[in-house]
Symmetry: C2
Subunit: 261 residues, 2 copies
């Protein structure tokens, strides 16, 4: 099989995964030429690998030499165990929060220095928010991320600071000292607020889903229009829902095995 050893230094597996990685969050589909450009693969190799992925269902053809992510990958991705256990328990609580607020409601877990959004509930009246299911946003600039940071080991905050606090708006916390102080306050209050720190016009209020030993397993948030934000009212509601999820998680025997993040 000469095609499989033509590019020394890259395993076939890494080339298959590079094809999947080529698809970004905003790509509806990619041409074969674009796939080659993004992966550095030769056209014949990219064509063959994409063909194998199409046969499996992980990619779908979307016109002449164009590909998109297929339903098979969606199905398998939904088996990430954080989705079940955690998601099944959290969903009714998220719906309760949506009913009370009619705003964007989210569930996320931490992955490195990002919050990965497992669920987003949104309605007709909710403000347009940059979050989406399957998306990821930076820890230090979102309510969700600050709730995850505040209830994780101290080292995580220091690593996040060391990795650099990128600025997204004029309200983003980019000073290590300010971030550390904000995290202390979040730990004390039990919920976090991010006011236009990642995107202008929105305020996010978040609270952690905690393990029995007080570590954040996940977090939930409500994102509202800045002009409508009533933090005094939202904070306790979000915190109460997060506590309900925490309690139900720890009362299920599977809780420790379902731990994610």
């Amino acid at each position: 099989m000469p095609g499989q050893i033509r590019e020394p230094g890259r395993t076939v597996t890494s080339r298959v995964l590079a094809v999947l990685d080529a698809f970004g969050p905003d790509d509806t589909d990619l041409s074969l030429a674009e796939l080659c450009r993004r992966t550095g693969l030769a056209p014949a190799t990219a064509h063959r690998l994409a063909g194998e992925l199409v046969a499996w269902g992980g990619l779908e053809r979307s016109g002449d030499h164009h590909y998109r992510i297929g339903l098979r990958l969606f199905e398998i991705g939904m088996r990430a165990p954080g989705r079940y256990g955690l998601s099944n328990i959290a969903l009714p609580f998220l719906e309760d929060l949506y009913e009370v607020t009619r705003e964007n409601v989210h569930l996320a877990v931490r992955d490195g220095h990002h919050a990965v959004y497992l669920h987003k509930i949104t309605g007709r009246r909710a403000v347009g928010a940059p979050s989406r299911s399957g998306g990821r946003l930076p820890l230090h600039a979102t309510g969700m991320g600050k709730a995850l940071l505040a209830f994780s080991d101290y080292e995580l905050a220091e690593e996040t600071i060391a990795a650099g606090l990128s600025r997204y708006t004029s309200h983003t916390i980019t000073s290590p000292g300010l971030l550390r102080r904000a995290l202390v306050q979040i730990r004390r209050r039990g919920f976090s607020v991010a006011a236009q720190e990642y995107s202008l016009g929105t305020v996010s209020v978040a609270a952690p889903v905690l393990s029995a030993d007080g570590q954040a397993l996940a977090a939930i948030s409500v994102v509202v229009r800045s002009s409508r934000a009533n933090v005094a009212r939202l904070g306790p509601a979000v915190r109460t829902a997060a506590m309900g999820i925490s309690r139900q998680l720890s009362s299920t025997s599977a809780a420790s095995r379902e731990r994610v993040g």
Copy 2:
């Protein structure tokens, strides 16, 4: 790279995908031994491929020689384009239906002879339903599936019949003649009803999301407890929501490119 050509007749790609396929909908994690059993791979090969998938993030280690699906696959799977476009437009309509009914609300597309569930909204009072996001259920035995069948080419129904109408409960339609008559009635009414045809105790009411030429692109359903089912009330609500999604899909220029199924 001798390890990559040790098992003739299977490409490396097919072996990587076999590792992913080994994870079923109900598997929290799998041991290396179980991975080998399900894939037919030699332990050294399975261990190496799983290691590459862990390094990429598609699998995560969950204890000694145990693996589970990782967040990276969840993120990539969520890029299946049916999710955006269709999902973004459908979500507020689904939330409306949830608010009106407080029951299980779903969005699904067709894949072969199954409905693949893209979204499930559920609350505290909703009946336990076998559906889940990322799951798939048979076309002929669910309200969702019958709505997709009724508004697809006639050949699809005949292929589904030829593939065999499996029985799930004593109410499942297993007679080709009865299924054909049911589909005619669904086309006329604009919505489908499945009363305990896949699982006892639940009734599903579904309606198609239609393209401009009247073909089902997707379908939505509400699943309620049999004892609470008020089809006369649910049918028009589900149909109205589906028509709203159809209208908004066809008014977005991207509609034809986002077509899924």
